[in-house]
């Protein structure tokens, strides 16, 4: 990185299965105006806007940055639209951050959204195409076999996924913006929920949400007056092909390479000790132990033990994961990655409210997408790098 970059404003919508009270523009403005307000800025203070979302078919609007430009105060400014599948919320932040670290802009507004209730998530994610193999298993059918492979490799017991589902929902019940609020969830209620794609139960999967997230990223100079900036200590993205011979989909190399790059930039050698809190893209419960290994918090095959020990719980764990409730509580696909990045920033700034962890100095934000092939991550710190 060349110039320093900090998060000085954060906003998100109340997430819900259907935000029937707003238009698409209304949804993104709800998040963007909160981010501006948090930063103490107005539309006119913003130099450029970077927006991200997953496929346009969700809302049936082609390249919606064109329609949304005036709604986001972008008239007369540079505006970009990023799309990197499920990782897009994270990639969008990184594109915006590079506009600052390159020295080109001082204050960049970045926004991500999905209004999935305009159509149907299952349909929009897998529009049937000629000559393509028939859809045999639905959405979770893609990931369940990978989870089975992880269980086979690691010897993890069946209850690990259940434990993650319970933990993230309990975390999410403290987040007023979360879509699902399930303070009464129990091990038994998850265990007894329908087994959709064995080994994946209904309550171990993420919801489909409407929602948006926004952040204001600033240069060192522009962040000088911010009471609590979260500084970028490292950021990276990596991609690998969807399928290739010998591909490790359980522990993808793109994820390992990406986090290694971020840790090197941030000077982190022992992530479990040096990172205080992590917001990691876990759409299905079992992805917590898998990503614990992929991100270097546990040795290969050992991630489930960390989950099992309670280490990732904010109630006594030493490395709380997804205090916001994560993707298991809130999943507007295009925004889900940005929510991870933004929640990491909230923790560093000490502004996460009920789900704040005490004394956070460094936090990891993580997003992935496609067939576990696109990765975007950053590490934020309360001190200037």
């Amino acid at each position: 990185m060349a110039e320093r970059c900090a998060v000085i404003g954060i906003g998100q919508t109340k997430h819900a299965s259907a935000r029937t009270d707003v238009s698409i523009a209304g949804l993104v403005r709800e998040a963007a105006l909160r981010a501006l307000d948090d930063a103490g800025l107005d539309w006119a203070d913003i130099d450029a806007v970077v927006i991200g979302k997953a496929p346009d078919m969700f809302e049936g609007v082609m390249m919606p940055e064109l329609y949304l430009a005036p709604a986001l105060g972008a008239v007369g400014k540079p505006m970009m639209r990023v799309h990197t599948a499920g990782s897009v919320g994270g990639s969008t932040v990184l594109v915006a951050a590079h506009l600052v670290t390159s020295g080109i802009h001082e204050r960049v507004l970045t926004v991500a959204f999905e209004k999935q209730s305009d159509s149907d998530a299952m349909w929009a994610l897998s529009v049937p195409q000629p000559f393509s193999p028939p859809l045999l298993a639905g959405a979770g059918g893609y990931f369940a076999p990978i989870i089975r492979a992880y269980i086979r490799r690691s010897g993890a017991p069946d209850h690990i996924g259940i434990a993650v589902a319970v933990k993230d929902r309990l975390h999410g019940s403290r987040n007023p913006y979360a879509h699902l609020h399930m303070p009464d969830i129990t091990f038994e209620s998850v265990r007894d929920s329908v087994m959709l794609w064995d080994p994946l139960r209904y309550l171990e999967t993420c919801p489909s949400s409407d929602g948006a997230a926004a952040m204001v990223l600033a240069s060192e100079q522009a962040a000088a007056s911010s009471p609590a900036p979260a500084w970028v200590h490292g950021m990276a993205m990596r991609s690998e092909p969807t399928m290739f011979a010998g591909r490790d989909q359980v522990n993808p190399r793109a994820g390992r390479d990406c986090v290694a790059d971020v840790y090197a930039q941030a000077g982190i050698t022992e992530p479990r000790r040096e990172i205080d809190v992590a917001e990691v893209y876990v759409p299905f419960s079992w992805y917590e132990p898998m990503w614990l290994e992929n991100l270097g918090f546990a040795a290969e095959g050992e991630g489930w033990k960390l989950t099992d020990s309670g280490a990732t719980s904010m109630d006594g764990g030493d490395i709380p994961w997804n205090c916001s409730g994560g993707v298991l509580c809130t999943n507007p696909i295009g925004a889900s990655g940005m929510l991870r990045f933004a929640e990491a920033a909230l923790q560093v700034r000490g502004l996460a409210g009920e789900h704040q962890v005490d004394g956070v100095r460094r936090a990891l934000g993580h997003a992935y997408g496609g067939g576990s092939q696109f990765f975007a991550m950053w590490v934020l710190g309360s001190e200037k790098p």
Binding site: R4, D56, L66, I104, P241, C258, D261
Partner: protein, 419 residues
């Protein structure tokens, strides 16, 4: 437009970056035989081979495309197979024209400890009814339900020029005639010809006041560009096409709130890219992404280009308009002419959205030029980690791969086939 933001100031960019290679798939009416990957592979290989690099040398890869061209979500995902993203690459994608992917790569080269980037885009405009599909770019509540199509919207814009006496239908035909004639020496053009403006005026209207020649052909294509920074660019080619400035701006979406006869966002982007003072007079040629003939006139006026500037020597988007590619191809075509010595300074432009809603301007030169302006900011914190990644293995490329890029030029299609 008073609200067009703060006046452009040349961005404080840090080090010179250049286009060092450009390749494109000859645009054709419909590429029936090859899927997106099969179309892209030879183009990417050709761009890399030309400078003796492989994908493993690329510090960053960025692409541009739109799912609505083929009606399939995530259409960019498989396209990555054309590069061979293994070991994993630093890679990103914009749901925009490839010119904006090039902008993202240029930003990355300013910011990260990398020296090279690959940019590509692909567009199968032939798969569906692109005129209708582009109507989905409009406000989904009060405009898209009317199903306005791209030609009709452009025709509303053209009418404003005619009504105000800024240009006539004869002027549109003059633009088309020149572009078609220029295309006769462009093997990648989809259409070309030597018809005079008078001949073209016998064309029927597609949507009055736009006749067939004033509208772009529908076609499939792909393009790839290699960028390199600083000394690396000079090592790779004798005459890098240095990007001396680049910027883009968007206008409001409401057509009725815009002055359709002008392009204030183009003017603002050009100023921010450094087209200030006497720079405009030094431009030798301009590749303007004007899918419709009248839009070239609007852009040339907004940019204040001198009479002697060669406009769209490639023929421009009126002779080959694969969506999501045509903007990147403008940068490539302009850069090619700087690299081959036929121009010292060139301007490339790309657009997005109905009636030139969003515009990008890229200035290219055979001199690194005002790169030193950014020098004060280069001190920074270089070396704060990050994998270098560009350990060069020049010359290890050599994939043949270019088979199939020849021979399909000029097949089928005719101007105005968007009708």
């Amino acid at each position: 437009m008073s609200s067009m933001g703060r006046a452009g100031v040349a961005p404080a960019w840090r080090r010179p970056v250049a286009v060092v290679s450009f390749a494109q798939y000859p645009t054709c009416r419909r590429e029936e035989h090859r899927n997106e990957v099969e179309v892209l592979m030879p183009v990417v290989a050709e761009a890399l081979d030309a400078v003796g690099l492989t994908k493993d040398d690329m510090g960053f890869v960025c692409s541009g495309s739109s799912d609505y061209l083929v009606g399939a979500p995530f259409s960019f995902v498989m396209a990555l197979d054309a590069v061979g993203a293994w070991p994993p690459l630093r890679e990103s994608h914009v749901e925009m024209d490839g010119a904006f992917a090039l902008y993202e790569a240029w930003v990355m080269l300013q910011s990260e400890d990398i020296d090279t980037a690959l940019v590509y885009s692909f567009g199968r405009s032939s798969s569906g009814n692109i005129r209708r599909a582009l109507g989905l770019q409009l406000d989904p509540y009060t405009m898209a339900p009317l199903w306005p199509d791209s030609v009709s919207l452009a025709a509303l814009q053209a009418r404003v020029l005619v009504d105000r006496g800024i240009a006539s239908e004869d002027d549109f035909a003059e633009v088309a005639s020149r572009c078609l004639r220029n295309a006769t020496s462009n093997p990648n053009a989809q259409v070309s010809g030597t018809a005079s403006a008078g001949d073209l005026m016998r064309d029927a209207y597609v949507v009055e006041p736009l006749r067939r020649h004033a509208c772009p052909p529908v076609g499939d294509g792909a393009a790839a560009v290699v960028l390199a920074a600083g000394e690396r660019a000079s090592e790779l080619v004798e005459r890098p096409a240095w990007i001396t400035g680049m910027d883009h701006r968007v206008e409001t979406h409401a057509l009725g709130a815009r002055d359709l006869a002008d392009s204030p966002s183009t003017r603002l982007a050009a100023q921010a890219a450094g087209l200030v003072g006497g720079v405009a007079s030094k431009i030798d040629l301009a590749e303007l992404h004007a899918p419709f003939a009248h839009q070239e006139l609007i852009l040339a006026r907004a940019l204040g280009l001198a009479d002697g500037v060669a406009l769209n020597p490639s023929g421009g988007a009126l002779v080959a308009n694969p969506l999501m590619v045509a903007g990147l191809a403008r940068i490539g075509e302009a850069a090619r002419r700087v690299m081959d010595g036929s121009a010292h300074t060139a301007l490339a432009h790309a657009t997005s959205g109905p009636c030139l809603q969003q515009n990008l301007v890229c200035l290219l030169s055979d001199q690194p030029g005002p790169a030193v302006l950014g020098g004060a900011r280069t001190a920074g914190t270089a070396g704060t980690g990050g994998t270098a990644g560009t350990a060069g293995t020049a010359g290890t490329g050599g994939t043949a791969g270019t088979a199939g890029t020849a021979g399909t030029a000029g097949t089928g299609g005719a101007p105005g086939e968007e009708s």
